[in-house]
């Protein structure tokens, strides 16, 4: 469904991805882990069209994404839950949701609110009054309302209390069981590797390791990517 070939990306004059290869099939849940500065966010932003790659290709369902505007890529069915949530603080919860829903019918809205009941309680409130965890749920709801073919989450657990992280991952688990295709980027390697069928370890702008869940759990290669070669 999603393919990255030889991707090189520069951000603010510095090359942050030195040729990344990756692929993601329909219904797969893949994680990308690695220390900060590895280029994980740049990778996601490139897929979504916010950054132009300096070399290489990104293709989605056979279609090259290079040169498309972000809104066009979004309309192809890719939804991003960005790092730091980036909900529209000056809009109400309901408005945030409405913006995303775009005539997708009230059925979808009902379903999503069912999965995230706390949002239903907060519909009339300004979004910047929500707690971090609630904002994260709002961000995910917003992405879900787009009925995406591919759901991308950038550091969904960042800045959340452990209990909230459980809630968020509980939702992701539900989505997984419904067959959603997801790409999850996290700095917290353990949780992600445990959660995803397959993970990729990105460090220093390059893929250092990749494999199925069992292969990566407690793998020295993962440790090394984070903690250095001496380990």
């Amino acid at each position: 469904m999603l393919e990255l070939r030889g991707l090189k990306v520069a951000y603010r004059g510095v090359e942050v991805l030195h040729g990344v290869e990756m692929s993601l099939g329909e219904g797969e849940v893949v994680g990308i882990v690695g220390p900060n500065g590895a280029g994980k966010s740049s990778l996601l932003r490139t897929i979504c069209g916010l950054i132009r790659p300096s070399a290489g290709e990104v293709s989605f369902e056979g279609r090259a994404l290079r040169g498309l505007a972000p809104e066009e890529i979004a309309r192809l069915g890719i939804a991003l839950v960005p790092e730091g949530r980036q909900i529209f603080g000056t809009l109400t919860v309901a408005e945030n949701l409405r913006l995303a829903a775009q005539g997708n019918g009230s059925g979808t809205m009902e379903r999503v609110l069912g999965q995230l009941p706390i949002l239903r309680q907060r519909l009339g409130q300004r979004a910047d009054r929500l707690s971090g965890g609630e904002q994260q749920q709002l961000a995910v709801a917003r992405a879900l309302l787009r009925k995406p073919r591919l759901l991308i989450l950038d550091e969904p657990s960042l800045g959340l209390a452990p209990k909230m992280i459980d809630v968020v991952y509980g939702l992701l688990e539900e989505l997984r069981s419904e067959g959603a295709t997801m790409l999850i980027v996290e700095q917290n390697a353990a949780r992600t590797i445990d959660f995803c069928q397959r993970s990729v370890v990105l460090a220093g702008g390059q893929v250092r390791a990749s494999g199925r869940r069992e292969e990566l759990q407690r793998n020295p290669a993962v440790l090394r990517a984070y903690m250095g070669r001496q380990l």
């Binding site: 220390p35 900060n36 500065g37 700095q187 949780r191 702008g205 020295p220 250095g228």
Partner: protein
Amino acid sequence: MKGGGLRSPASAAASLVVPLVLVGLTVAVGASGTPSFEDTVTMALCNLIVVLGLQVFIGNSGVYSFGQLGFAASGAYAAALLTIPAAFTALQTPDLPSLVADAQLSPLPSTLIAAAASGLLAAVVGWPLMRTSTLAIPISTFAFLIVAYNVLANWDAVTGGNSGLVSIPRTTGVASAGIWAAAAVVVALAFKWSAAGYRLQATREDEVAARSIGIGLMRERLLAFTLSGTLCGIGGALAVHQSGTLSPSTFYFAASVTTITMLVVGGARSVFGAVVGTLAVATVNELLRNLEEGAHVLGLFSIGETPGLAAIGLGLILLVTMVALPQGLSRGLEAGEVGGLRRRLRSRALPTPPPAETEQPGLRPVGGPAGGLRAARVSLAFSGLQVLRGVDLELAPGEALGLIGPNGAGKTTLVNVLSGFQAPDSGSVLLDGTSVTGWSPARLARAGLGRTFQAALPFAGLTVVESVAVGAMGVGVGRRRAVGVAAGVLERLGLDKQAQSPAGLRPPGDQRLLGIARALATGPRYLLLDEPAAGLNDEERRDLVAILRGVRQDFGCAILLIEHDMNVVMDLCSRVQVLDDGKTVLVGAPEEVQAHPAVVEAYLGTSYLEGAHA
């Protein structure tokens, strides 16, 4: 003045001589034509002086001022009132103080006084305006222009009001205008190449980086603004002595647009551009003016009378330039730099620097003998998040301390607090025993604290050696010595071969090093590096480690290193401090920290050590 190591003597000479030759040619052309043509050329030269005034401020600061013609107006009115015969002054401006009204000076003193008056006005007006934010300066200077117009148009008894002034002696000829224009070229170029000019250009390239090397935004802008006002005042004074009449609308919106067009078309960043742009636009303007009367074009079709054609044409030229050629005809380069771009890109050895710099510039010990950089119980919250919770940190003189921790732990925020970019909610920062909490980044830089940023923040429009030298200039070192310091630093970091190439074109690894070099040029005793290895490939990272090792020994500064790459941290640091969620988790020797379960867990989220030591 001629570059002093920042450019080859040939390049410097060319940059100076070519615009002067252009001015000379213009004078010659003007003198050889009809009297009315000579008047037109003389006016163009007066415009040139004003445009050079614009270039000094706008070109070097990157900030647009729309009010400079207010200073041309003040110069014009001052010069006019001082030279109009007393009898006429009494008629036109009855309330004028007799000191001015009776004065009937010759052109030179009146121009000089006009220059001084405009300069003084610019300093006074500039002081509040330069304190407003970068975004507000274009608007507030525009307001000044309108205020100036308003005052001139309404203060009838002193300025002649809307009807303006007449009977101004016409003393400016093409030769005298040419001499003043040549002088203005020299002044503008001298400023651009001076330490003050470089400091201002640094603010244009990157405000944040400029502050981190000791540069005060407001001060540098005010200096250029004042110089700019002086030059504009001279241009106005000469212009009014060419035309013989003056009214408030002479130096108002239309003239502002014309002079800005001349600057932009030529290329705001270069003096050569200002000259080329002025001459080009003046020529086109004249051609269009002639067409306004109606003409046959190429014998094919005729244009009827179209007043305003010249102004429309100029507007279109400005628009097209902004869209298609924003750097102008000169691409922002001086005459000695144009065409030599290919030469610059090939490795170029530095011109021989002065004898090796052994003393560190900018060392001004604060408090007693070096006592280390300390953060004491620093707490900071923003956007509702508590980012730092009572963090302590100690960086002893000469040591290398690593600062690690997962994303969002507060490492960069802590460095921002240490370097003055953010003030803590509580707690304090001490530099060599003195409390420096709340000091500005520039002040801290001058006290011996340097830093780099996660993004390289290069001074893309300056050459490699200029980018580094301006670091020394930022902390008050004179230009000549600054170049020597830069030469030494570049050599240590292996960047000396590319000294003359534009910083913006260097590969990312070099730009990283440039940021470090620039900070080193300020002569810091404490150097804070924010993820210098981010985005580097394996080879570049190895080189960086080698360089950083050498830096401590050669420059004698302590290093605080934020890094995610453990290899770099382990290789360089004698101590490592681990931050997580705004608190210190552990401080200790690298090996101890690397294997500590709590640290591993902070990063990876679970105990990855079980069964990993296979």
